[in-house]
Symmetry: C2
Subunit: 351 residues, 2 copies
């Protein structure tokens, strides 16, 4: 299998290197040949080519079986008036590859509960997945700036809502059968369309699934006060961005959370997917060898499962990370108060 690696900026190169090592170890153990093609994206791409998503990167990504990404962005490129920003590379590749469903599983590991701001008794048994719509909404609508005002348009079509709700409902069916759709239907027209569409799709195609609607403001509370009650949560792009970062606090550290951004299955049954940790490029700790590689390694596990169809191999990686955490191999973000091992030791523990 051919995997395109997009290290990006900040700690991106370190954490993707760790995940590639783990994938090589998986290949060795299970007898698979993975080839890795490293390409530019984000700030690194801007520095080298002037573009956040060079054509060569996109072409390689389109040919590949799967894409593993680190993180993009950093103070160097964050002048709001800069003509190109690193984040545009990420948004552009999501859009160009049609990766409309961003799966963000949150399963707090017992060993990391100490690092969560949430009381531990609320976290036992939490096992949820947020499915965030990733190629529509206010992220991709028209933007204007004229003199003293600015605007962003949020638009959704029925088709865009249907496909992500279907993906989420199918996932719920394979899990505990509960789907929570999040919107702001008491204020937004796009949310009213979202709610109607989710209701219809579930009624027509997933009558066995239990569907509940939540307003985004209530969801921001209930995610904290009763996280155990959720199974699959589906929502639009901007709400998903906020709620998944909030949900990450259930797991103790952003450094433990993987994500899979999936498109439709193509003619050959292959699912196009980009896999990346939820955390950012953390420029403050870049290059010091202390970044937590677990989220990217767990993203590689999702890559094995969803894009390569290697479920056993995926589970093997997930178990190895859990074992490393069980054994107390914590990077600084989890260990707290100045302790913790470096990326090297954490990666070795998994391998």
């Amino acid at each position: 299998a051919e995997i395109v690696v997009l290290p990006g900026d900040g700690i991106g190169p370190e954490v993707t290197a760790a995940a590639v090592e783990v994938l090589r170890a998986v290949g060795y153990r299970y007898g698979h040949t993975f080839s890795f093609d490293t390409q530019l994206i984000g700030g690194a791409a801007i520095d080298a080519t002037g573009e956040a998503l060079p054509a060569a990167t996109l072409a390689a990504a389109k040919r590949a079986d799967a894409i593993l990404l680190g993180a993009v962005g950093g103070p160097k490129w964050s002048d709001p008036k800069a003509p190109v920003r690193p984040e545009q590379g990420l948004l552009a590749i999501r859009k160009a590859l049609g990766l409309y469903a961003n799966l963000r599983p949150v399963t707090p590991h017992p060993a990391a509960l100490g690092a969560s701001p949430i009381k531990p008794h609320l976290l036992t048994g939490v096992d949820l997945v947020v499915v965030r719509e990733l190629t529509g909404g206010i992220y991709f609508g028209d933007k204007t700036r004229d003199g003293d005002s600015a605007s962003d348009l949020c638009r959704y079509s029925v088709t865009e809502i249907e496909r992500v709700v279907r993906r989420a409902a199918a996932l719920a069916r394979s899990r505990r059968g509960r789907l929570t759709s999040v919107d702001k239907a008491n204020v937004l027209e796009t949310s009213r369309l979202w709610r109607e569409t989710a209701t219809r799709i579930v009624a027509e195609e997933f009558p066995d699934i239990q569907l509940e609607h939540q307003l985004v403001d209530s969801m921001a509370m209930h995610l904290l006060s009763r996280p155990r009650e959720y199974d699959v949560i589906v929502t639009e792009n901007m709400f998903g961005d906020i709620l998944t970062d909030e949900a990450s606090m259930l797991a103790g550290s952003l450094g433990l959370l993987p994500s899979a951004s999936l498109g439709d299955t193509d003619g050959s049954g292959r699912i196009m997917g980009l896999y990346e940790p939820i955390h950012g490029s953390a420029p403050d700790i870049a290059g010091r060898g202390v970044a937590n590689p677990y989220a990217t390694i767990l993203s590689a596990a999702l890559l094995l499962r969803h894009s390569l169809g290697l479920a056993d191999e995926a589970e093997c990686v997930e178990k190895a990370v859990a074992a490393a955490l069980d054994a107390g191999v914590f990077t600084a973000d989890i260990a707290g108060s100045g302790g913790g091992v470096g990326s090297r030791q954490a990666t070795d523990a998994v391998i």
Copy 2:
């Protein structure tokens, strides 16, 4: 002073009645005459007049010295296809009175920490105010629906951003001098305008204030992992809606959180203000006498302070609520596991 009371729906009538009793007690003790004019809004107004904000209500509100509101909405009126919705009454009165700055203080009371999902050691010393822009952004932009797609426009002008940032910066100056401005400037054009404008206003008019920018997704995490670090947080309408409900979890219960929605000072130095609890109409417990009245009573304290200029009286009410909590007078939302007193006892404890 003339106070317009807008009970609204669900538990709205119960909690506003409790706050009116407290205001009467304050009037008696300090020798003020408060008159109360009760008017319709929300679902109750739709049932009676067909409109969520009847002209008579708006006219009374415009004449009044201050407005005390309960909550609006409920399943009875929540069909997304209904021609009028209760929430429109609330949005319309905010807009019509120019109440652009919504102050939501969060100060966890020690007695209520047990009810918070957050670990108690993170909550000691938390004392923050979110200033939410309330009359602009995607809430009030053009909405369209054509066949199979829908849109909502988010728009901000420099003037709209300036005035709410000024209000927040002035508040920060009267507190610990720290202002955190929240946006999504790596994606949204309105956020880039927001960030530039906030930076300029603080540099030019509040050089003594320490300004920090946060992306909304990071803020959703940091609010939980290091809430003590925040003093005043200022943000746009939609982000403020989500973040304030999230922040409410720091306080243990939505039932403890007041809010003030303020406009500009008028010619006579009077500030137009609408005061309401952050919680909703809770139709499931309406009419049972178990609603927590503290948030509305604390909103009445904000009314005394901001619109009537009665700072001592405001403090007296706040101390009375704190004393009731100290004495363990908890309604069910705080007491948990089926315990707790009713609204009547809680109100009496404050009085």
